[in-house]
Subunit: 135 residues, 2 copies
DNA sequence: GTTTTAAATGCAACATTGATGCAAATGTAA
DNA sequence: TTACATTTGCATCAATGTTGCATTTAAAAC
């Protein structure tokens, strides 16, 4: 599906920044940071515009945010195959890449009586196949 | 165990900042942010000293860091009862408190062939019992 | 108790991410 | 083409992370 159509479906105005972000994360085979996305875009946008675009796209569940660390945030496209379901993320300590893992039915993590779970954020840290081969 | 003893065991110099941080997180029944810890301390320390103290205590596995969001980082004491084992964290969207959950044997999350897992960070977001009662 | 020295601290400076107010620009529908 | 609500760019600020360097301090040696 084209970026424009995705925006239309979610009743969002078609702006070049939003379109660009969607196109970039759609073509990526891994999650991308704000700067990685920025560098892949032709247009030049203010950081605030970027920030607000990410927020809007996230709220419409077009993309989702992965917080690896307080200084490392990445974004990935929500797609009907791997996403819309709870899934974990893999972060490579070597090359710092982030990938969405296939959704798996997780045994419920027991939370205390009276607590109400809404979302679960899982980041598995380690070494990816490519980096492991290099050693 | 006293803060001083903990520092000694790990071959760390006894400084009032480190001692203070350990005492504060030890007495807390939840994870605390840099500012929350700072406000509970009598002494006044430079942010850099704080930052380096946290780093040192974390490296010695005296405390561990929980990254809820890029702007919300909390610290909790590692203790032999609930910690030293992989455990999840609960973040309350209402009161913003963070608690370490009891360690549970998690069914392994399947990661791709050739990948090597080192750590798993889990943050469950929702509403805690106290906040749920208020509604 | 002094001296010595390696380690910790305070300060300055800077990077990344998140957030808001406001005027100017723009998308979209009338 | 016009009108209007939305989006953008800019300024400004907060929390977190990081490093270099001079000064201070913990702790060992004397």
């Amino acid at each position: 599906m084209k970026a424009v159509d995705i925006l239309n479906i979610h009743n969002l105005k078609r702006t070049s920044c939003r379109e660009g972000i969607i196109d970039v994360v759609k073509d990526a085979n891994q999650a991308l940071s704000e700067n990685e996305i920025k560098n892949k875009l032709s247009g030049n946008y203010d950081r605030t515009t970027f920030y607000r675009s990410f927020k809007t796209l996230e709220e419409s569940k077009i993309i989702h945010k992965i917080v690896v660390d307080s200084q490392l945030v990445k974004y990935a496209l929500d797609n009907s195959i791997t996403h819309k379901k709870e899934h974990a993320h893999f972060y490579c300590n070597q090359c710092h890449s982030v990938k969405c893992l296939e959704p798996v039915l997780l045994e419920e993590i027991k939370i205390p009586e009276g607590y109400q779970k809404e979302e679960t954020e899982i980041v598995i840290k380690g070494t990816c196949a490519i980096c492991k081969n290099k050693t």
